[in-house]
């Protein structure tokens, strides 16, 4: 996986490889063949991003939006990154190919193998058109 990004402002503390970004965004390019590859490249933006690169930890907060090239778009107020997982304990609104869903939480593996919307979900699933 390759990630790159931009921000209005970035504070980087070399000790501990900690970073704080305001109005930050990035693009994740999954490895071909990985489970995440089904989504294509994934873009994200947030008002604030705090991370510890060395420890593979971070939190993005404030109007967090994730866009996958496949067409999935998720919005939430706060999302945590902890190594192999992305987690949110705030409301998540997601729209994607064939679905629209609201939930009160999110748990996803960063390799894309599991994307779970939790703590009460509701939404719509598109049904196949009649022949």
């Amino acid at each position: 996986m390759v990630a790159r990004g931009t921000a209005d402002r970035l504070d980087y503390h070399r000790a501990g490889a900690r970073l704080q970004a305001s109005r930050g965004g990035g693009v994740i390019q999954p490895e071909p063949g990985s489970r995440l590859a089904a989504f294509g490249s994934v873009r994200f933006v947030a008002d604030r991003v705090d991370g510890e690169i060395a420890n593979r930890k971070g939190v993005a907060s404030g109007a967090v939006r994730v866009d996958a090239a496949r067409g999935d778009v998720a919005r939430t107020d706060r999302i945590y990154y902890d190594g192999d997982f992305l987690r949110s304990d705030t409301r998540v609104d997601a729209v994607g190919p064939g679905y629209r869903v609201e939930s009160n939480g999110l748990l996803a593996r960063t390799d894309g193998s599991v994307i779970q919307l939790t703590d009460g979900v509701k939404g719509k699933l598109q049904m196949e058109a009649r022949p």
């Binding site: 629209r100 939930s103 779970q116 509701k122 699933l125 196949e128």
Partner: protein, 300 residues
């Protein structure tokens, strides 16, 4: 009753997206499916399906139709992104509701393209369709969501409201290998090993059609292909039989024969009154043994 069940099938799946609620949702993009867990509730139009677990399987992606030049992308296109569910499997205490009618089973498979909903259960807890006090169960119940027909494997039906009887009606129970309910023709077609039980009367035949009036009341049962009737010591056979639900008489035709404690009667037609046990034979011939009936109530 079957008429009422015919009406149940009016759960025609309306077009448009399906609303859902659940505790958790898992998206598995590579498997092209979405898994819903915990208090799953699906609804579309007046069709509501609940269960403990559901799997939505997505159709393979198709190339989107070409949009006429200049036409903007519609809101619905952005919602669904061009992928759609082709099959839903709901399991665990599946409950289907459409208006006042309900159906229950252990598993329900909704095939969106075929417009069918198949309910299955276990031998101990078979799938059931209910409309008020009326019930229909079987090994497998297929509800056609477009034509409103119902296809049942090994049906077990209790025709409670089918007979216009005063006071406490005698239920008519029907079993067969197969039942097809044809809503438009107000017809229930039972085939293979049909057994009809009413009180102490048991009627067997390979085929039977039940006809209903506009209010879902049974008017007639037509048994074809060989009929065998047993009621106490009495036995009757014929090629065909018609049961008039209002008169509560069974009319045997096609070399009909009646056997009753040594009596053997045949004729052009035999009418059996199931309640009074009276018999009328047209152009009768046969052998009667009055001594066999001595001591019976009403005997001289």
């Amino acid at each position: 009753m079957t008429g009422a069940i015919v009406l149940l099938a009016a759960a025609t799946l309306p077009s448009g997206p399906l609303d859902f609620k659940a505790r958790d949702m898992r998206i598995e993009p590579q498997e092209r499916r979405v898994v819903l867990d915990g208090d799953v509730h699906l609804s579309r139009g007046d069709l509501n399906v609940t269960g403990e677990h559901a799997v939505a399987e997505y159709a393979k992606e198709q190339a989107p139709p070409r949009r006429p030049r200049g036409r903007k992308k519609e809101a619905s296109d952005t919602i669904v992104g061009g992928q759609s569910v082709e099959r839903f499997t709901v399991s665990g205490n599946v409950h289907v509701q459409s208006g006042s009618r309900t159906a229950d089973g252990e598993q329900g498979v909704m095939d969106v393209k075929a417009q069918t909903l198949v309910l299955t259960g276990t031998p101990q807890s078979p799938p059931v369709v209910r409309d008020g006090s009326e019930t229909l169960s079987g090994e497998r119940i297929l509800l056609r969501l477009d034509s409103e027909d119902v296809d049942v494997v090994r049906p077990r039906v209790v025709l409670r409201r089918s007979i216009a009887e005063e006071g406490q009606p005698t239920p008519v129970r029907v079993e067969a290998d197969h039942l097809l309910l044809l809503q438009a023709r107000r017809l229930a077609r039972f085939t293979d090993d049909v057994v009809v039980r009413r009180g102490d009367a048991v009627v067997r035949s390979p085929r039977m059609e039940a006809r209903y009036d506009g209010e879902g009341q049974l008017t007639k049962l037509e048994l074809r292909g060989g009929v065998d009737v047993r009621q106490g010591d009495r036995r009757a056979t014929g090629l065909n039989a018609d049961y008039d639900a209002k008169a509560r008489t069974l009319v045997l035709a096609g070399d009909p024969k009646l056997y009753d404690q040594g009596d053997v009667l045949t004729g052009d037609r035999i009418d059996l009154a199931l309640d009074t046990k009276e018999v009328r034979v047209e152009r009768a011939r046969g052998r009667l043994r009055p001594e066999a009936h001595k001591g019976e109530r009403g005997a001289p």
